[in-house]
Amino acid sequence: MTQLALVIDLNVCVGCHACVTSCKEWNTSGWAGTMVDHRPYDADPTGTFFNRVQMFEVGEYPNTETVHFPKSCLHCEEPPCVPVCPTGASYKRADNGVVLVDYDKCIGCKYCSWACPYGVRELDEMQKVMKKCTLCIDRITDESRPENERKPACVLACPTNARLFGDVHDSDSAVSVAIRENGGYQLMPEWGTQPANHYLPRRKTRIQIFEDELERADNPLKKEAPLPAAEGETLDDVAY
């Protein structure tokens, strides 16, 4: 079975919000109708977004690290938001695992939003129906597009390539390899929702260098000193 998902690399994300704006642009102009904006140019603008980029500070000054944290529907494999919906408007697609809302069936009761621990469902204040990330279902299933464009808008927009898209059930897909080899993890695993989206942690590349590797006893460039060979064998002569 296919389970499409995003893998978000927190090591690479710079928090530029390009995914947020491209998501809004694509989805507000799409077949499903606008995503409302209220008071967009006033002091307290509010509106519907499928994707938000948040920022967390880890540690205490001066030893802090900034984590930019994009968050959208994780397309859970056990989505708790689906069975609670009284109308059947919320559903999980059998063919590709994308969790969707049928805006023509939704009565705006908000019950599904209570049943999602991640806070990614938003009631549209104009249409009064529940909205959330669709993984750009209209793009990724559009066979008339060339293969490399059949990706969510956010993935195409990300300038640092922090967002990978693919089938997490296919062990050889780029997303599965990334999860496997770079420590991909799920959010709030304690609820057993099995989010399909994964995050790659912040990673540090370190090389270990010992003192004697910096100051080689037999450093041939120290011309002024006598070559150690003249003084008999050193460790470097036997261990290479």
Partner: protein, 330 residues
Amino acid sequence: MNPAFSVIFLTTLIGAGQGLFMALVTGQVYSLANLLEPQDNVSFYAMGSALALVLLGGGLIAAVFHLGKPSYFFTRAWRGITQWRTSWLSRELIALPAFMLSVFLYGVAHYFDMTRPLFVIKDLVPVDATLLLGVTGAVLSVVLFVCTAMIYASVRFLQEWYSPLTVANFILFGLASGFTLAAAFSAWSGIALVGFFGTWAVIFTVLAALTRGFSIYRNGRIKHKSTLQTAIGVRHTKIKQRSMGFMGGSFNTREFFHGAGRGTVVSVRLFFVIMVFVVPVVLLAASNAMQSAHLPIVAFVAQYLGLMAERWYFFAEARHPQNLYYQTVG
């Protein structure tokens, strides 16, 4: 959670309506067993059913205003009964009209005096149409209580609600307010059942005080499963949100935060404890001693106001894990 007035009205009104109907049927069963004087079909049972229907109808209207748009009631709400296999909300949407229908039929049967026994059980219990409808309605009333409560008690992310105590509270609050209303209704229309209903109302109120007290205690010591660490998946004891990604609020900041200070929440709790548990018991006891026609009515009004505060507090005390993601504007 942010308490919605539509839901506060819905749950308190139908709770009282269900309790009142249970009280009527209890009265009928008691008089069948010759433990109580039989009551008049029209002025007691039919009028009582009408009163219950008014409350249930009020609840239904409140529910309509909980929909995204009230017009969805006509265009889309029928879909809400399709997912009864998995959704307690869908089950409630079936149970509520079914129960209202049985209350209506029960009232009509009494109004038209349909009390000729249809059959007799063991030469002892004459069963007529009103009794059949009453028992059916009582069962549906319990079903509706469970459906309503399970809407809240089944959301495992709201750990304050995820408990059998929630179901017990909903049932006992409904019965307490319904029997208090039955006492008030009897006192108002001069029916000699004030003491009977009042006694049951006090019993249910005391039981509700026990279960609600226990759930307040439980919720005070609850340990939430999710933390900022699991929310973003970083192992560090010091994590702070610096920006939630937007400035002017969103659905997630409006729906899940009540915005009231700790002081307000504690005052509301004190208010409802006094109004739901203390005042009605004192007033019902006093009315029993003084044979007053008005005190039971005051008792019901006080308890109903208290229950609205209780429902507000019920929402306010529940803290959703999604709130971890919405701590700092920026």
